[in-house]
Amino acid sequence: MATQPDNVPVSDEKLVRAAQRGDMVAFEELVGRHRDKIYARAFSMMRNEDEAVDLSQEAWVKGWQRLKQFQGESSFVTWMTRIVINLCLDQLRKQKRHRSESIEMMEEESGGVERQMPVITVNPTERLERAELRQRIDKALAQLSVEHRTVLILHEFEELEYKEIAKRMQCSIGTVMSRLFYARRKMANLMAGYKREELS
């Protein structure tokens, strides 16, 4: 199912149609193709390897069960990414219920320390190799609060609009805007900090 007779890889669309008819081999091929991306999204949100593996697998199971609902408005991998994001958000909400109302939560609406940060005037990513840049971005993302990291991932990587983010995160558009603003400001300062460390 993975390749056609002339060794041209079968498209996702064909594999999806086959899987929709109950072909599990086709579905396995889709999992094989996109497993890293789905896992990576779960990991970026959860920052925990085991949780990311479990949630990404749960997403694939749900994907199989809901495959008939997939109409092809977006690509299959985008559709699957939305499923894993929703599962991660549910999991984060469950974890949040166990967390006490922290200072971080109280500060996030008013900006907390991010409001006092000076505006970064130099590009902290200049002359960085792409691999190093990605590494620094990942390091900085790991230092953000769950709420700031999530909103940044949904906006910058998933390219969702404010309204869609608010719906998924179950908060107001104003909260999304505020979280996104302070998440960006914190990212800018963290990246500038790494640059300063490098120069000193």
């Binding site: 999992v31 005037t121 990605r134």
Partner: protein, 176 residues
């Protein structure tokens, strides 16, 4: 700059403002150096984030990862099928449970009567006893005749007992 203005600048950069609002922000930005610096910072941050998400490879082999998914799919597909069969067994359990309890009680009574040779009503021709059981809907009566070398158990519906007026006369007939 207050917080509302900062968020407005961000919304402008993200293309979330109406045309009119965007024009207003552009006019204001042209004369505000602090706002321009913030625009530069936000633009820079957005530009290096786009397309630079770290690639995180899955820490499991394809086969191992898929096997767990496949098992879970098969497990979940089997679950509704089992659930669909459940009402059949539940329905049968409703009949089996009282019958089994009556049979068990009867055996117990038979055994105790044989061991102790006692009864609630003894007559010259036989012995009649009411047997308790745990079912709230059914009850039973037993009759034993050593002379005839027989033992009979009547199982009846308690709810219908009052309607069946000839039950008492039947008892009389048996005991006499």
């Amino acid at each position: 700059m207050n917080q509302d203005q900062e968020l407005k600048i961000q919304a402008f950069l993200d293309g979330e403002l109406s045309e009119r609002e965007a024009r207003d922000v552009q006019h204001w930005l042209a004369s505000d150096a602090q706002a321009q610096a913030l625009v530069t910072e936000l633009r820079t941050t957005t530009s290096y984030l786009k397309g630079n998400e770290a690639a995180v490879p899955l820490p499991e082999t394809r086969e191992f990862y898929w096997n767990k998914i496949q098992r879970e799919i098969e497990h979940q597909e089997a679950a509704p099928a089992n659930a669909a069969r459940l009402p059949f067994w539940i329905a049968w359990r409703r009949y089996f449970a009282p019958l089994a309890s009556v049979a068990a009680v009867t055996m117990l009574v038979l055994f105790s009567m044989k061991m102790n040779d006692i009864g609630l009503t003894d007559g010259p021709n036989g012995h009649l006893a009411e047997i308790e059981n745990l079912s709230e809907h059914s009850s039973s009566l037993s009759f034993r005749s050593q002379k005839e070398n027989m033992f009979v158990v009547w199982v009846y519906n308690k709810d219908q007992k009052n309607d069946e007026t000839d039950l008492d006369s039947m008892d009389d007939t048996i005991v006499q």
